[in-house]
Symmetry: C2
Amino acid sequence: MARKDRVQKKRANLRDVAKAAGVSVATVSRVLNEPGVVKKDTLEKVQKAIAELRFVPSAAARAINSGRTRFVGALVPTLDNAIFARFLAALERKLSEDGLSLIVATTDSDLEVEATKAKELVDIGAEGLIITGATHSTEFHDLIERTMIPTIITSYFDDTSLFPTIGYDNKAAAQMALRHLVELGHRRIVVVHGPAHNNDRTRARLSGLDAAHLNGEFTSVETEISLQGGSEAAARIVSNSYKPDAILCLSDVVALGVLFGLQSEGISVPKDVSLMGLDDLPSSAVAVPSLTTVHLPVSQMGERAAVALARWISTQKRPEAEKLGARLIERKSTIRNAALDK
Amino acid sequence: MARKDRVQKKRANLRDVAKAAGVSVATVSRVLNEPGVVKKDTLEKVQKAIAELRFVPSAAARAINSGRTRFVGALVPTLDNAIFARFLAALERKLSEDGLSLIVATTDSDLEVEATKAKELVDIGAEGLIITGATHSTEFHDLIERTMIPTIITSYFDDTSLFPTIGYDNKAAAQMALRHLVELGHRRIVVVHGPAHNNDRTRARLSGLDAAHLNGEFTSVETEISLQGGSEAAARIVSNSYKPDAILCLSDVVALGVLFGLQSEGISVPKDVSLMGLDDLPSSAVAVPSLTTVHLPVSQMGERAAVALARWISTQKRPEAEKLGARLIERKSTIRNAALDK
DNA sequence: AAGGTTGATGAAACTAGTTACATCTGTCAA
DNA sequence: TTGACAGATGTAACTAGTTTCATCAACCTT
């Protein structure tokens, strides 16, 4: 067992390759970065050495010179809601096309946590950030301003925002939903929504409803954004003396929870009450009855955000805000208000 | 606008801090890494300079010396199934306690994609990998063997595996489910499962059923692991002349899809047919009827995997396999076979 | 008072790349 | 034949940290 037989010495580096190929380190570096300027047979010689030594350039050493770490961070409230999972899946897929990796961090909708995790991401060298919504702590804003790191807001459209936004118009989407119910003749509407505090998407959606009262009336119920939360909200609605002819949930998870909650109370959707969601999750199309909802293009949003961030990083030019269209998906959970026709 | 007034020069580095504090770079480095050996007032002097210059050590430069990049990679088939999303959420949370970041990559259950993404992760310096299941391509195995990177298999328990596994016994879990149905008097059972090809968890679950036929009989239906897939499977089952008295789905997403599929065909669960899942997703508790299932502790699995990997990385000692317990959750979707009692 | 030990710090080499600049060779025009 | 210039490659300095070794002062011992 001679010393030189030791199999797994360690990763080969540029100098090793240079020595093996009989060239200088600069030439090896050129082979890696601008192969065009290297003479053909030296190129081949070096490539052979690279292959033989199984050389892979160290990302860290690269990063130290170029400042490029080739990863970005995404901060989402939770992975438990399919809406974010789908968004991240699309984001990751598209980023990897540009050679960017994605570090995921969850914030639990806590602005302090968000600021902390954002700082960690920046400190370890993230080249860009994807965040959710437009409301953030002052420490967070300080951080972004100080480091001038490319940061894109998603799930929220606002072309006057400090950071570029790529998202849908939450207000308009909620209005679209409400209008649909009103057009079906519903007047007694209960709106079920997630915590408005600390969630600007929810607030924007609610503001749409306020603005568009459309000579109907509505009461609202706040609950946790989860199936459980929806189910509980349904129980509360049923126990109440106020009998709505339609329920509008400002997110599909909640709507599905409400559907289950109503079913377990023996209330039939849409016969007894129309039910409508907002998001358009895969489950909404399959549920029985299938859920009428407003489709928010989250996969598309993931792709657009990835493209915009990648471009921002490479060109240093801040992208424009992008508004993605939401559209009404009519399914089986809403019907015309029968009482009105009498 | 004198040159020295330029606000955002760039990130301060060790040399800047050293100069500002009037000490050598070595001392600053010591303040960062072993503050104990530095005299108290120099320590304070340096810390003051660090704070003033808003100095944050470059992760890349650190990595180049120590080889420590402080991130690991996780390869999951998809984020669309809540089971992986929940697993990752727990994994991320626990890893961050150890100062490790998580890079997420999805494989779409494609072993080639997995190998490619694993290589990318290793190349950019991942210190460890979390993977799903025990079946992987030979390139993948070569990569792990060559680089000797700490790699933990999850969602699968097998203490004879090449890599340490942290997961549940899929075979036993499926058996537990089947036994429950048989105990309820069900004999005509249809098993709905995801693609067995390329998915060892599914195969393990199926093997449990084969082994435990328990003087019942069962036919099986293969479908995509999604709500849609479950719904389609239900349609196929209904259209078939074979009338089961119970349906066992080897994952909860599929079970929920089957539930919807049956509902839309007007078939009542559990009156007409008992339905059972496996995973225990949040939705299963809320569905109507709530789904009997086998609980797989995915959040716990995420935590354990995080702890084990972090320890492996820091101690260089390969961890032991960990078997996590699965347990039966009886809910409303299964009842005693009435026909049997006649 | 001389010698030994410890504690604190600094100089410089080291990690693994990139890159500015220098050098050498060969071709082509004057 | 000489000078100009392009093309290919090498030398060495640079990135931002860590780490080894050397230095020096202060204290303790004999």
